[in-house]
């Protein structure tokens, strides 16, 4: 994973089930971006349309890169479309990709980190997932619904007017248990301040890791879902070699079950924070700003994925601390 070029076009990925309110949100984005050139790639029919905006209807097409490994899949249709769009003189200011309710968000995200041609031209801003607060309960059994929540940076809990406050609170807790880093908003008609979903820079490593404090405060998480988040906050310094070895093995063996991870580390012998993120097996890390004198040096990591409990993440990470058992 390599950070995309600075002048590249920001990309918003919009996921959610059909009927959740994606199209309403998309039309709000287009109205808001009026005057800018926005290209929209849609994978299912909807009433999209603002004058002068380009809407491209594409069939989603998954390309393997490594004999079928799911971590190394990309979206061939996006590579082709983005490559072609960027040839034009009047390039686009913003690209919005609307996925179908049944799409796996991972190949979309991986495309922006794996394909060098796309990487130099476009950069992911955020994955925005619209959840139908009234009907999501019918979809908990579906992998797609869980994955769309797990991969999200921003979650719109839409149609809140159709459910009770108690139901909403329960829903928020359940979603928070799956994804500890997404920002959750309650909306009606997908009405939301645009700066909450655009210009989020969620994939920018320089951005602070924001773990919901409530998630950290809750002592006992109900991990009854197969998809869940685990957040680790540990004082101390990390042995860089041990960490490398652990993460390497973890991603190799359990990559398909780890959807996303983010972290800030205090590495032994380093004056700067080390920041990293991952999507399945893809890993990207670099040195960040120096630790401030008044700052308590610590390590914060968040994993979002499937069957995380059995991976023994906390114990394994502690073993990477200087002085930790190995």
């Amino acid at each position: 994973m390599v950070a995309a070029a600075q002048h590249s076009v920001p990309v918003t990925v919009l996921t959610g089930y059909l009927g959740a309110g994606k199209t309403t949100l998309l039309n709000r984005i287009l109205t808001h971006e009026h005057g800018k050139k926005v290209a929209v790639i849609v994978n299912e029919f909807g009433e999209v349309g603002i004058d002068n905006q380009l809407v491209i209807d594409a069939d989603e097409e998954i390309f393997e890169m490594n004999n079928g490994c799911i971590c190394c899949t990309v979206r061939g249709d996006l590579i082709r479309i983005i490559g072609n769009l960027m040839k034009r003189r009047d390039k686009f200011d913003h690209l919005v990709i609307e996925t179908t309710g049944l799409a796996d968000p991972a190949p979309v995200i991986q495309t922006f980190f794996v394909d060098d041609e796309v990487q130099t031209q476009a950069s992911l801003d955020a994955v925005v997932t619209v959840v139908d607060a009234a009907h999501i309960t019918q979809h908990w059994e579906a992998d797609e619904a869980l994955e769309q929540i797990a991969f999200a940076d921003v979650i719109l809990l839409n149609k809140v007017d159709l459910v009770t406050e108690e139901a909403l609170v329960a829903l928020e807790q359940r979603i928070r248990g799956m994804n500890a880093i997404a920002t959750i908003y309650r909306t009606r008609d997908a009405e939301i301040a645009m700066d909450s979903i655009l210009g989020v820079n969620a994939f920018d490593l320089g951005n602070a890791l924001k773990i919901d404090p409530e998630f950290l405060n809750e002592t006992a998480h109900e991990h009854d879902e197969t998809v869940a988040s685990i957040a680790l906050t540990e004082p101390g310094t990390v042995d860089g070699d041990k960490l490398n070895q652990w993460l390497g093995e973890l991603l190799r063996d359990r990559g398909p079950d780890i959807f996303r991870m983010k972290g800030i580390l205090n590495i032994k012998g380093e004056d700067c924070r080390f920041v990293f993120q991952g999507v399945h097996m893809l890993f990207e890390g670099r040195q960040d700003r120096p630790w401030r004198p008044d700052e308590t040096r610590k390590n914060e990591l968040v994993f979002i994925g499937r069957n995380l409990e059995e991976m023994g993440l906390e114990k394994a990470f502690r073993a990477c601390l200087v002085g930790g058992e190995f």
Binding site: D59, E61, F63, V74, G76, D77, R80, K87, R88, R89
Partner: protein, 356 residues
């Protein structure tokens, strides 16, 4: 740097990014198309031009002359495949629009004429249509099925049509009505294929950072690894400088790797890297009947590599980068296209020594 090999003969400007350039077989005419949707024919010597299609908003991405030079085909994001009949007099630039094949909601970005018949193959999503330009009828529609068709190539013998896509390269025989294809597996998606002009080798550039080369009659490929990114462009030389095998140039990110087969019994392929470019390489092409290699890149340089090894000249003139290039079939001219719409034709410097 040695004495220049090429001088600028003429130049002009299209409205947007030059997506493709193609020479007529006799080298008298050059055709170009752009991201603004223009299709223009130029006189090779003077640069005099005739617009066959004005800008129309949607990009035209592919353009090619038929083997006999009678037809010019172009296609792009509108899904329309247009075929013009060229005037018999090669000094005449005008052309008559013969056929327009509409394919709504499909981007046609790849078209190739049969090496000697007036038969045009072009991609339509997951399949290819082979069109008879004289009879004006569909000959066949071989289906790649498993993914969109990413590239296509005719075997120089004219007996086979090869398509590439996700996880494989498939070859159909022309004489059995494009029946069951022969399938060659690739580790990832094959985005570029090229068959050597002698018909001996098939190369596939893949998104898993490998290059595969098959002998035409051998199902087991050589696999070339070590590329930093996907292999985007391929070109074979027409000449065979070493042990009877042509050279293969493969572009990947900012670099170009040139492969040659060793003469010894191991039949290994050896390579060297040409790394002068500082931005992605957009096109590579060998001068016909020579080992002079031209490489175009987004860094605003076209580099000429003597014997595919030594940088001999750098051509400039497209400030936003070069997007494509094409040698005239006789090797007399090099046409280069720019990201800002520049079309430039370069000719041999007459006073210098020979080429290659």
């Amino acid at each position: 740097m040695p004495k220049p090999l090429l001088n600028l003969t003429w130049q002009t400007l299209l409205a947007d990014y030059v997506t493709a350039l193609a020479w007529s077989p006799d080298g008298s005419r050059l055709a170009g198309c752009s991201a603004a949707g223009e299709v223009v024919v130029f006189d090779a010597r003077t640069g005099a031009s005739m617009a066959l299609q004005d800008k129309q908003g949607l990009s035209v991405d592919a353009i090619a002359f038929s083997a006999d030079g009678k037809f010019l085909a172009a296609a792009g994001q509108a899904g329309t495949v247009s075929i013009w009949q060229m005037a018999a007099d090669s000094a005449e630039l005008s052309a008559k629009l013969l056929t327009q094949l509409e394919n709504p909601r499909v981007w046609v970005d790849c078209l190739r004429w049969h090496p000697y018949q007036p038969e045009l193959a072009f991609n339509l999503g997951r399949y290819v249509q082979v069109w008879d330009a004289v009879e004006q009828s569909v000959i066949a529609t071989p289906a790649f099925e498993t993914s969109s068709v990413l590239d296509l190539a005719w075997h120089p013998s004219g007996d086979y049509l090869t398509l590439s896509g996700n996880l494989s390269v498939k070859t159909w025989r022309r004489d059995d009505g494009y029946n069951a294809p022969e399938i060659r597996e690739t580790g990832g998606a094959s985005g570029a294929i090229a068959i050597s002009p002698d018909g001996q080798y098939l190369a596939s550039g893949n998104n898993d950072r490998t290059l595969l080369v098959w002998e035409w009659d051998n199902p087991y490929p050589w696999q070339m690894q070590g590329f930093p990114a996907k292999v985007r462009q391929l070109a074979w030389s027409t000449v065979q400088p070493q042990g009877g095998s042509p050279l293969l140039a493969a572009a990947c990110a900012d670099g170009v790797v040139v492969w040659a087969k060793a003469k010894d019994a191991d039949e290994r392929w050896t390579s060297h890297v040409l790394d002068l470019h500082s931005a992605p390489v957009t096109a590579v092409a060998f001068q016909p009947q020579s080992t002079l290699l031209a490489t175009a890149a987004e860094d605003s340089w076209v580099c000429l590599w003597q014997q595919s090894t030594q940088a001999a000249q750098i051509l400039e003139g497209a400030a936003d980068g070069f997007s494509t290039l094409a040698w005239s079939p006789q090797g007399k001219y090099l046409a280069t296209g720019g990201c800002g719409g520049e079309v430039m034709v370069w000719g041999k410097v007459m006073t210098g020594k020979g080429f290659g």
